[in-house]
């Protein structure tokens, strides 16, 4: 029984189209794995199968040896699997602090408390301060999310997700839509993630991938084409073809 997330023989199809074909992935504590591949390869689908948004046709998913397939989306979060969305998904009309508070109160199981003010748990407020500081968002805590730049919103989403104290974190294209002048914010944030956290990064930005990933999985048409250390992947002819090919179509 091994620690972390284990995926074995994962299979999923939509109608006749196979989008996950016999996928095996291990995410041990501290892992920094990147999942790359062309658009439509099935990367987001893979994330949704892990988080429980989609149900696989076959295959096993275990967390610390425990089968998590019977768990619904919310229960998998409680079990320690958290994600950020490909398209930032936040509470846009609420303040940044309220966004983080919401995550903390779900984590602590007191979201049904109705008498005390939501901001009256001093320890959580200090945690929020620390989390905002870690993402250099201190000055924006009382701003509404919809008033922030997109790059800042991505950081808020990461900060909020970390408030859940997850053990496995899935980042779906964290740099997508972020202006290149701000993408270093994302890279820095990923580099500062807790050491024992298992991280899966779905990403198109190769610069980011090669900076943060210690292992890379290449997904094509729902199948793992190859996987290995960044230098191996960079030297792989098939991957280079794929990416040069993809460039031409972009």
């Amino acid at each position: 029984m091994s620690a972390g997330l284990q995926v074995r023989g994962l299979q999923k199809s939509f109608g006749g189209i196979i989008v996950a074909d016999d996928i095996n992935v291990d995410l041990a504590p501290g892992a920094r794995v990147a999942l790359i591949g062309p658009n439509g390869a099935g990367k987001t689908t893979f994330s949704s199968l892990i988080t429980g948004k989609l149900t696989p046709n076959a295959g096993e998913i275990t967390l610390d040896g425990q089968d998590i397939r019977p768990l619904g989306e919310a229960d998998r979060v409680k079990a320690g699997i958290a994600k950020t969305f490909q398209i930032t998904t936040l509470f846009r009309d609420l303040t940044v602090r309220d966004n983080l508070r919401l995550a903390a109160q779900e984590r602590d199981g007191r979201a049904r408390a109705w008498f005390k003010r939501a901001d009256s748990w001093a320890e959580v407020e200090r945690e929020i301060d620390a989390q905002l500081a870690a993402f250099r968002l201190e000055a924006l805590g009382d701003k509404r999310v919809s008033d922030l730049a997109y790059g800042q919103q991505r950081l808020v989403e990461m900060a909020m997700t970390l408030m859940l104290k997850p053990r496995v974190l899935i980042l779906d294209e964290p740099a997508a839509g972020v202006p290149s002048s701000d993408s270093h914010l994302i890279t820095d944030a990923i580099e500062r993630l807790p050491d024992d956290l298992a991280v899966l990064i779905i990403e198109h930005d190769m610069k980011l991938v090669f900076r943060v990933a210690r292992s890379i999985i290449v997904l094509v048409n729902g199948r793992i084409l190859t996987q290995g250390a960044p230098n191996e992947i960079a030297a792989d002819e098939r991957v280079r073809d794929l990416y040069l090919g993809a460039r031409h179509h972009d």
Binding site: E73, A74, V77, K78, F85, D93, A111, W114, K116
Partner: protein, 317 residues
């Protein structure tokens, strides 16, 4: 508004002042002011369900009506003491909301709205058919309330009724005010804004929506019970679509998701109704219609936002 809330007991003081002023300002219209207060309570229940939790409903009357019939039947058959009747009305509204919510909240959008309407229609049909129990189209008669707490006799002018209703509305409003600022209120707003994100932070969205709907049902049930006790009559009208729809219009007029909007919207709507309907009994709805259009286009946050909007206009000059 938010700055006002920081002063201790500002909300309480303001509410008490409003209730006392209303009492002395309309000595011959107390029954009407009492009706306004009951309507405020009903619209507050919709604000919790729709304004906070984002559950679209056009059938809140189902919960109001069930509270009214439950309290009325309780007074006729068990005891005519008001407070136990109020409790029964609340439990009845909450129970129906819970049971129907389990099914309704599996759906959303137009389907949800249609189903909420259907529940109210079914209730009305059941009440109509069960004339032995409910009096059917003639209404439930013979409700004679005992004094409140055994002390305060319901009088002809409606003084007791007014203060009885006023105190209940006051307590519920303060409770909702707390709830709105507490984790539960925040989580309901979260569900309203992004159910997907709520799931992704581990919130059991469906269960929490059922909870919100049940709480709203309890409050609507209290409103219905008050109406039954104060008017000493329950008719099939308590389940009418018009009641649900008008209450929703009042909420939109006043502003959703902010509690005070319910007060502003109800007072505005019912005053316009009262005044305009006696001046022009055929066209007053036009006037309401124009007000709603005006609010939707120029004050999307409702009338409660009017002062801020005027300030902003003033600054732009």
């Amino acid at each position: 508004m938010t700055r006002l809330m920081r002063i201790p007991f500002a909300v309480e003081a303001l509410l008490i002042a409003l209730l006392v002023i209303a009492f002395f300002a309309f000595p011959y219209n107390l029954a009407f002011v009492t009706r306004i207060l009951i309507m405020v309570l009903f619209v507050l229940s919709i604000d919790l369900v729709l304004g906070f939790a984002g559950i679209a409903t056009l059938g809140q009357a189902a919960l109001y009506g069930t509270g009214a019939y439950a309290a009325g039947l309780f007074a006729v058959h068990v005891t005519a003491a008001p407070l136990p009747g109020l409790l029964i009305g609340m439990v009845a509204g909450a129970a129906l909301a819970f049971l129907s919510g389990l099914v309704l909240l599996r759906t959303k959008g137009l389907t949800l709205i249609m189903l909420t309407i259907a529940v109210a229609q079914i209730c009305q049909e059941v009440a109509n058919k069960a004339r032995d129990v409910t009096g059917g189209a003639d209404g439930l008669r013979g409700i004679r309330m005992e004094p409140v707490l055994g002390l305060f006799e319901f009088d002809f002018i409606g003084i007791t009724a007014y203060w009885y209703v006023a105190i209940v509305v006051f307590i519920v409003f303060l409770a909702l005010k707390r709830l709105a600022a507490a984790p539960l209120g925040l989580s309901l707003r979260g569900i309203h804004e992004s159910p997907e994100r709520m799931l992704a932070i581990g919130a059991p969205v469906y269960r929490r929506q059922v909870l919100a709907y049940t709480l709203g049902g309890g409050i609507a049930g209290i409103a219905g019970a008050l109406a039954a006790q104060v008017t000493q009559l329950v008719s099939l009208e308590v389940y009418s679509f018009t009641l649900s729809a008008e209450a929703l219009i009042m909420l939109i007029l006043g502003g959703t998701g902010r509690l005070w909007g319910a007060i502003v919207g109800v007072v505005l709507f019912m005053t316009v109704h009262h005044v305009a309907a006696s001046a022009d009994p055929y066209n007053w709805l036009f006037f309401i219609g124009f007000m709603v259009l005006g609010v939707v286009f120029f004050l999307p946050g409702g009338m409660i936002r009017l002062p801020q909007a005027l300030l902003r206009l003033g600054r732009q000059r």
